[in-house]
């Protein structure tokens, strides 16, 4: 990083922090702190829900995903617009009518305190751990690429955001997310333009896409059907995307307070609805564009030598083990393949000869095998780095090939994307702690000023917890995966509880509580005993709670009155 990059990075981050603190000055009560005084227009609701969902890893990982696996990841979002419609019909009007601060308050009104607390605990547990990971995951990538100290990077990623989140709660979250999203998109559009500009003169944007397609990267729609059978373990296809993606989006946007808090801040149900529907309109093209960056990077590396492994730190560490000589051999062989590939590529572009294409495909497979061998060696050597370099592809490309200034801006983009989701998470964790636990179980007779002070303290405590968790996560690779899986265990059941509340009026508190526990057991059994893709677990959990709820209500006729 040059000094221009440092200036751009620091000025961008400083601007966002100061802007946030300035906007938070007018907040003096918990309605402002948790719901921004219910004054936000739909545009800020839309940018808020997008900014909350899109963490730093979204921008780091998606282009790498397209580079290695093609565009099919976009199908994961196909159920999202449909979920937005259900939210607009049912969730939004009810939450607004009941004037709640958190989604779980509604569960006490509909069922009982036990069910509300159960859902709130699931939320606090899964959101706090995943926020810790959303601090650690980009921090480890930046520290590897830039050589920064991981503990300091964790602190920068998670510490500064606590400072401005405390100052003004939901209002600061909304205003900073607005600025963050503008900067993020400006940075990415500029990066996309420059990648195309870096391609050889005869390769424009559309011919780059054509090349990507010729090499299997434009596989936007896939059926998941192989040898006449649907593969339930296949993560991204149109069927799992629409059905599994629908349940996932419904759970996430309908029952996760970090999202519910965004649209509860809207000035009316109308503004909430438009905000969410616009999220449904924008999300798929946005993800398509981010993935497309990965395809363009892939095309770039067809004409230029790519690194054998995009995480250079992993290669350096591997060279310090008994795999040193094999790693060097592979590096040299990889370079030779790159040179050979370029020859055949130019030949193929001139005459479109099938034999050149066959040779290119063969060389691609050869490269893939070498990369797989490196991954195997990293795993076998037990060096404490990720055994996949997907998340490093885009940032390594940026560092190696983007001009000074833009590098600083794109590093800032990673920080801002992380801050957007972390600030919303801290605000929602604080809201649930105060509204769902402190008020009902500790003290419900606090003054407005006391509750306002307490809301800030809870934000601070959750912030500290997440940063400390991120520090402990360092060097525990499997923990990250475990936390990601944790979400898919709970989301479906949470959604099931809310769906019973909305649509099965005959089911009472006792039945839904035991149905939720039975649903959770079923999800865990499905996870451990079958190889079904995790996207399906949300649908299974939600449907199980609906079914068990009805069944238990029927078996236990007295349940409704409990």
């Amino acid at each position: 990083m040059g000094y221009i990059d440092w200036i751009v990075l620091l000025l961008t981050l400083l601007f966002v922090v100061l802007y946030g603190v300035y906007k938070g000055k007018s907040i003096h009560n918990i309605d402002g702190y948790y719901r921004s005084n219910r004054q936000l227009p739909w545009s800020m609701v839309m940018l808020g829900v997008i900014g909350t969902q899109a963490s730093a890893v979204t921008f780091l990982s998606a282009p790498g995903q397209a580079y290695t696996d093609g565009m099919r990841f976009v199908q994961y979002y196909f159920g999202l617009p449909l979920a937005m419609i259900v939210l607009c019909i049912t969730f939004i009007p009810l939450f607004h009518k009941l004037n709640v601060y958190t989604a779980y308050e509604y569960l006490e009104k509909r069922f009982d305190r036990k069910t509300r607390s159960f859902a709130a605990i699931l939320f606090l547990l899964s959101r706090a751990l995943s926020t810790g990971i959303s601090i650690y995951a980009p921090a480890i990538i930046l520290s590897s690429i830039l050589g920064w100290n991981i503990y300091l990077t964790n602190f920068l990623m998670g510490g500064i955001v606590i400072f401005y989140s405390i100052s003004g709660g939901a209002r600061v979250v909304a205003y900073t997310q607005q600025v963050q999203m503008i900067i993020i998109f400006a940075g990415l559009i500029l990066a996309g333009y420059l990648i195309v500009d870096l391609l050889p003169n005869e390769v424009g944007f559309f011919s780059a896409l054509k090349l990507g397609k010729d090499f299997g990267k434009m596989n936007v729609i896939t059926t998941g059907i192989s040898e006449g059978r649907f593969n339930w373990n296949d993560r991204f296809n149109i069927i799992s995307g629409i059905i599994g993606g629908f349940f996932l989006a419904l759970s996430y946007f309908g029952t996760d307070q970090s999202q519910v808090g965004r649209y509860l801040s809207a000035s009316s149900t109308r503004q909430s609805r438009i905000g969410l529907l616009m999220n449904g309109v924008v999300k798929i093209p946005m993800q398509f564009f981010i993935l497309l960056l990965g395809v363009l990077v892939f095309v770039y590396y067809m004409f230029h030598a790519s690194p054998l492994y995009f995480n250079q730190l992993a290669i350096d560490k591997l060279k310090a083990t008994s795999y040193k000589s094999r790693t060097i051999e592979l590096e040299n062989a990889y370079k030779e393949v790159s040179v050979e590939k370029k020859v055949y590529l130019n030949q193929w572009l001139t005459d479109r000869n099938a034999s050149s294409k066959l040779k290119l495909d063969e060389l691609e497979r050869k490269e893939e095998m070498m990369r797989d061998e490196v991954k195997g060696m990293i795993k076998a050597s037990k060096i404490p780095v990720e055994s996949s370099d997907t998340n490093y592809i885009f940032i390594r490309f940026v560092m190696d090939h983007m001009p000074h200034g833009l590098v600083g801006l794109l590093i800032a983009v990673i920080f801002l994307a992380a801050w957007g989701s972390i600030s919303a998470a801290l605000n929602s964790l604080s809201a649930s702690s105060l509204i769902d636990f402190h008020r009902p179980f500790i003290n419900d007779s606090l003054s407005e000023a006391q509750e306002f002070t307490l809301s800030k303290r809870y934000t601070f405590l959750w912030g500290v917890f997440c940063v400390v968790f991120a520090q402990f996560a360092t060097g525990m690779g499997s923990l990250i995966e475990a936390v990601n899986i944790l979400g898919s265990w709970f989301y479906g059941v949470m959604l099931g509880i809310f769906l019973v509340a909305f649509y099965l009026k005959q089911v009472g508190a006792k039945a839904v509580f035991y149905a939720a526990i039975a649903g959770e057991v079923l999800v865990l059994v499905m996870y451990f005993c079958t190889d079904i893709g995790w996207l399906w677990l949300n649908a299974i959990g939600a449907l199980a709670v609906l079914l068990f709820g009805l069944l238990l209500q029927w078996i236990l006729p007295s349940a409704k009155t409990v």
Binding site: P81, L82, I85, M218, V220, I221, R273, V281, P285, F288
Partner: protein
């Protein structure tokens, strides 16, 4: 032919205002999938 007077309009089933939005969102999704499918093939 039945006259289209005010009474008839009042009693006619009213498509909810938000229903148009929902239909537009679903149509957009279908169009996106069709475009993506043409890109894939």
């Amino acid at each position: 032919m039945k006259r289209l007077d005010k009474d008839n309009l009042d009693s006619a089933p009213v498509f909810p205002t938000w229903g148009y939005w929902y239909v537009i969102i679903i149509l957009l999704l279908v169009v996106e999938i069709l475009i993506f499918n043409s890109i894939s093939n």
